[in-house]
């Protein structure tokens, strides 16, 4: 549990790391209606695509620095020497980032959803989808950014985005399913299944990658 405490201690003093992405998310969600002519229908149609892309973008920004800082100041090599289970530490680290960024972003996203569709049910149903998808995004961007650790997040995004396309398709279908009152829970189970696989595999791959980086 030391990891949890240490990470929180670091993030407390580094608010740009977690508050920054949340604020950027709010900015995007506030700015996009300005680009659409003010008709509620148009807004509603554009809303969900903007929402998913904004979540994706924010998760990308959030993970930019997740391993780079530790790599640069040498704490990563100390971690590799002193911990037995690097992948567990990485998993916990991603979890903390999700708790600090993913959950608030999901909440704010649902609030915006309520504001724009003015349907309480929609907002309620979209919230768990946001939670799960933001966690998956976070994991995959962590993977991409760990590969391109010292080479900047543009390359990381370039190689991660293609991996995320299927998820975007599913998210689009979820919105249709909610609108039509169809199999929403099937989608939720599908997303949870994907998440449970990713949670296990991605930290393992990342720990392998990080060891290779330090070599």
């Amino acid at each position: 549990m030391n990891i949890l405490y240490f990470e929180l201690l670091k993030l407390r003093k580094k608010s740009r790391g977690w508050l920054g992405p949340i604020l950027v998310f709010i900015l995007i969600m506030t700015a996009f209606p300005l680009t659409v002519e003010f008709l509620n229908e148009d807004l509603e149609q554009a809303f969900f695509s903007i929402l998913w892309i904004a979540v994706l973008l924010v998760m990308m920004l959030a993970t930019e620095d997740i391993f780079l800082e530790d790599y640069n100041d040498g704490s990563l090599e100390q971690l590799v020497i002193h911990t037995e289970s690097l992948s567990f530490v990485i998993g916990v680290k991603i979890l903390i980032y999700w708790a600090l960024i993913g959950i608030p972003v999901s909440l704010i996203g649902s609030i915006y959803c309520l504001g724009i569709t003015s349907s309480f049910e929609m907002a309620l149903l979209i919230f768990p989808v946001l939670l799960i998808s933001s966690y998956i995004f976070l994991n995959l961007f962590c993977f991409g950014n760990s590969l391109t650790l010292t080479k900047g997040s543009v390359l990381g995004t370039l190689i991660t985005m293609p991996l995320l396309l299927p998820l975007l398709v599913v998210l689009g279908k979820v919105v249709i399913a909610i609108n039509l009152g169809l199999n929403y829970f099937d989608f939720l189970i599908l997303l949870l299944g994907v998440l449970s696989i990713i949670i296990v595999i991605i930290p393992l791959i990342i720990s392998f990658v990080i060891r290779a980086h330090l070599e």
């Binding site: 030391n2 240490f6 201690l9 670091k10 003093k13 580094k14 800082e69 640069n72 100041d73 040498g74 704490s75 090599e77 100390q78 590799v80 020497i81 002193h82 060891r211 330090l214 070599e215």
Partner: protein, 192 residues
């Protein structure tokens, strides 16, 4: 009776981009001994230390370890968070605030710097804080990569006497350094 060793390296070779860095380095680290790795810039001192630590893998050769309480490593990177205070950094390195720490901080002139953010300290002061972990370690093998860089004369003397004490306490040290520390150490030169 067989000699017990802490680290046994045999025929280590390392290549980067198909270029040889060093070849056929063999040595043993026994308890209560020091090894001084020398060599010109770019001869692979840091790489050799990292191979001993298990971070890097040698192109050829093996490293066997026989440690019970792990090693303590200080490299070029000091593992300090620049945006945190000295005190927070000590917490991150699991160093308890106790009397031993206080006397140590006074010895190296950093007692009044606990509340200062690390990025406001000089390079040498940062190095001293990183060394605190070494001074307070409880592992049987110290691996130090250029520990003297940036230290003033007083701190260098302190470090040397500390290392001598450690050796007397049956601990082992592997270090790389351009400066000859006053230690009874076997030296390995990587230049040939």
């Amino acid at each position: 009776m067989t000699m017990t060793y802490l680290i046994k390296a045999e025929n280590l070779s390392y290549k980067i981009n198909e270029k040889k860095l060093f070849q056929n380095i063999s040595f043993e680290v026994n308890s209560n001994s020091a090894i001084h790795i020398t060599g010109s810039n770019g001869s692979g001192k840091t790489t050799l230390l990292r191979i001993i630590l298990g971070i890097s893998k040698p192109t050829r050769g093996t490293v066997e370890t026989n440690l019970t309480s792990g090693m303590c490593y200080l490299g070029h990177k000091n593992a300090l968070k620049q945006y945190l205070t000295v005190e927070d950094n000590l917490i991150l390195q699991s160093i308890q605030h106790n009397k031993a720490l206080d006397t140590l901080l006074k010895d190296i002139d950093l007692y009044d710097k606990l509340d200062v953010v690390v990025s406001n300290l000089s390079f040498g002061q940062q190095k001293k804080i990183a060394l605190l972990k070494v001074f307070l370690n409880e592992s049987e093998l110290l691996v130090l990569d250029e520990p003297c860089v940036g230290l003033d004369g007083k701190a260098q003397n302190f470090l040397t006497s500390f290392l001598q004490e450690e050796l007397a306490k049956n601990k082992s040290i592997i270090f790389s350094s351009h400066i000859n520390l006053n230690l009874d150490a076997k030296s390995i030169n990587l230049d040939n």
